[in-house]
Symmetry: C2
Subunit: 462 residues, 2 copies
């Protein structure tokens, strides 16, 4: 085949043959990375097959395999045998959700702050800790995983969430995100694959990118992740772990049903996946009423359970509990020592005080009733959506019809005075066709502001 026959061929990526320097695979990988990062190659774009690029450049096609491999490790592209290689959805952009400052007057319905304005009982607990004369014990280096009584309080808290464990298999971390980091760093290596929902916690997506861990989206329905698709992907993809939020997925608010939990557990057990169960919303008192079995209990022996205390109690105190199977014990503690050394004892002690004096439950109840009120407001403005997708939750998941780049959509809302997040921020793979908004109800600052925000949202969508 003539070398020049591709000159007018429509290859999405056509490296300049003349400028190509040795080593080829590095030069090509850099070129590809540049084009993706500069936005010349947009997310979702199908790259030319390895053999075409190779023919065009007169190289062996496995050299192009190397090029795609390098970019894959960086999370810039992903490949599928038989289909092709594609530019990753978030390759060129940072979707981290953080409490960045909003313009004055703009109503926060993006970040999930968990009604952080309610702090009376936490303040009281802080005073109690300081007055107890126990302070000097909190300033020491000892008990890097947490002091025994602090762990005991955490275990008690998790007990009511359907997770049964003991001091030897529990540790305290500086928040759920920090706990996930330690779990990923300690138990996974770059290139390992973790199954997730198609939409998941956006900071997990970013963290996985940072650690060069590959997230593999699994199809789901109203009851959660589909066991069949998980099975299929496990067969072909050599998955090492799975990340689930069974009690109320972020952002979709899907609760995994009892049957589904058992079906998933069977697949996870069979393929020996490491399960990371992130229980952000189990605290909701209603869910305690009709409690579902924790995945951790279903899969004791191959699970990590993470229970963050920031969103339900107090975001400024960075505390999460992690419970782990015996086989992960050494590695998790090793990771904890080397990433954090230890977690702030003072923060841990305040949360401990809140659990032991019962105020943690009062805060949870109070926040639950606030959530109910906020949901009622939401239902008032969006009755169909509430009927279809509604859950008592800090946020709602709302289908929208707008076809625009997602950043533009978000910015349009900001210019109207509200911040909400678009589903693409949470998408593990390329766009799924449907678009949604995650509408947070717990961060506006007051019910009055929330109602105003919902009114703005309504008027924007009409």
């Amino acid at each position: 085949m003539s070398v020049n026959s591709f000159d007018n061929y429509p290859l999405a990526w056509k490296p300049e043959k003349e400028k190509l320097k040795q080593p080829y695979f590095k030069a090509l990988a850099e070129d590809l990375e540049n084009r993706i990062k500069r936005g010349i190659l947009k997310p979702g774009t199908k790259l030319p097959p390895q053999r075409e690029i190779a023919d065009y450049l007169n190289l062996n096609y496995t050299t192009i395999t190397r090029v795609y491999e390098i970019c894959k490790k960086k999370g810039l592209v992903y490949g599928a045998a038989g289909k092709g290689t594609f530019v990753s959805p978030h390759s060129s952009e940072n979707i981290t959700i953080t409490a960045s400052n909003l313009t004055d007057g703009c109503i926060e319905m993006g970040a999930v702050n968990g009604f952080s304005e309610y702090t009376e009982l936490t303040e009281r607990a802080t005073r109690a800790v300081v007055e107890k004369g126990y302070l000097r014990n909190l300033y020491e280096y000892t008990h890097p995983a947490g002091q025994p009584h602090q762990l005991a309080a955490g275990i008690r808290w998790m007990e009511q969430l359907g997770v049964h464990t003991d001091n030897e298999h529990t540790a305290i971390f500086a928040g759920a995100q920090n706990a996930i980091t330690v779990a990923l760093v300690s138990l996974f290596s770059p290139g390992d694959k973790i199954a997730t929902d198609q939409y998941t916690y956006s900071n997990l997506i970013e963290l996985a990118k940072l650690l060069h861990i590959v997230l593999v989206p699994i199809r789901g329905d109203k009851n959660g992740m589909c066991p069949d698709d998980l099975k299929r992907q496990c067969g072909t993809n050599k998955m090492k772990g799975i990340y689930l939020m069974p009690s109320c997925a972020n952002p979709t608010t899907i609760v995994i049903s009892k049957e589904r939990r058992e079906e998933l557990a069977a697949v996870i057990r069979k393929h020996r996946l490491i399960l990371i169960e992130d229980d952000v919303s189990a605290w909701m008192p209603t869910s305690i009423g009709n409690m579902l079995p924790s995945m951790f209990d279903l899969l004791a022996g191959q699970s990590i359970y993470i229970c963050g205390m920031t969103k339900n109690l107090c975001p400024g105190l960075r505390i999460a509990y992690m419970t782990f199977a015996e086989c992960f014990r050494q590695e998790i503690l090793h990771g904890l020592f080397n990433i954090n050394v230890k977690t702030s004892s003072l923060d841990a002690e305040i949360i401990t005080e809140l659990i032991l004096n019962g105020d943690a439950y009062k805060i949870a109840e109070h926040k639950h009733s606030l959530t109910e009120r906020a949901c009622a407001l939401f239902a008032k403005y969006f009755p169909e959506c509430w009927k279809e997708h509604g859950k008592i939750s800090y946020y709602q998941w709302m289908p929208i019809e707008i076809e625009k780049p997602f950043r533009d959509i978000e910015e349009d809302f900001i210019s109207q005075g509200i911040r909400v997040y678009h589903s693409e921020r949470f998408a593990v793979a390329k766009n799924q066709g449907h678009n949604f908004l995650r509408v947070t109800l717990c961060s506006a600052g007051s019910m009055r502001k929330l109602e105003k925000g919902l009114q703005i949202l309504k008027s924007c969508l009409d």
Copy 2:
């Protein structure tokens, strides 16, 4: 060459030809890993040349390259062109230093706790923070890098250490180890190489292993790392970064001289290395007297400066400041958001209070005078060592003559009633020939106990 001619050849590693299954390189890598982890192949052992193994197994020798490559990425072995491939010093063992519990009566001269028994002023600051009525502002999600006044306090503290920066280039982390983690995760990728001293902070060694970052030891002398060896390694090794503790290296207590700092800065600048400056001991008031220019100021634009507040103020409050060049800003903050979300505001506020009311300086002075007293005790029992290596420091570096596995040596000391750490714990590459002990002077709990510990040490070495 006959396939069987190696049967009686003394290869340190001779995989069983019969049991070998495909894929060869994976099977071989697993076999090698097993033998190293089970201790059959001991640290320092020279592995057979790639070509010999290959001949023996009738494989192409680059297949063995792959095998060694896999084990190298796991930190199990290291190779040197022209020399051979060797089993890594810490391949089979975890050298993490943590505040694990000591048997009753055993005197702690291993971990560095920084005279943590002195907590009066910290307790007072904690009370002050609680009483100021500012608590509710600490419970929020905002200002993930730290509140402006907290950053300002940190900047003021760093100012006196010779580091000049501003709010936009400073962030608060949950301790120095946590700050290093974020720097490594945000700015480096698996396989990247970082230059370090031959002996360095053992938790850095473990952290690098966890993140699959390769540490390259550079020769040093009494004035610190040798610029020539750094230059040489940069030429051949494609280094991406360098980690230094210029103000007082852990564990060697070496202070990098002014001239040396400038020489090193020139090499670092030329090769565009990312400098991570870990300033654990700059707080020592004496060093403030005759202050040396910070590497950060010498290399503004390509540096990260980390200032941990745990060892000098209070280990239980997990706070460190990090200052970074503009070009790292986005990546560092991105890493912070995704690894920690944010740092405990309460801890940060207490440290802020200590800096602003001046008590931080008093604590530092008090700890310095304790350190001087402890060093005087050390000099009394080990006058030659003090004369040769002594520095006013939380720990001392002491040559020893014992030839035994390092764990055995440490355990011998423990059975005598003291915990000290052996130099091999801090060795980045294979054993250097000389052996040392790091003798910590700030963790015994009292001067009386410290003296008793030194007496035991003396009697053990006589």
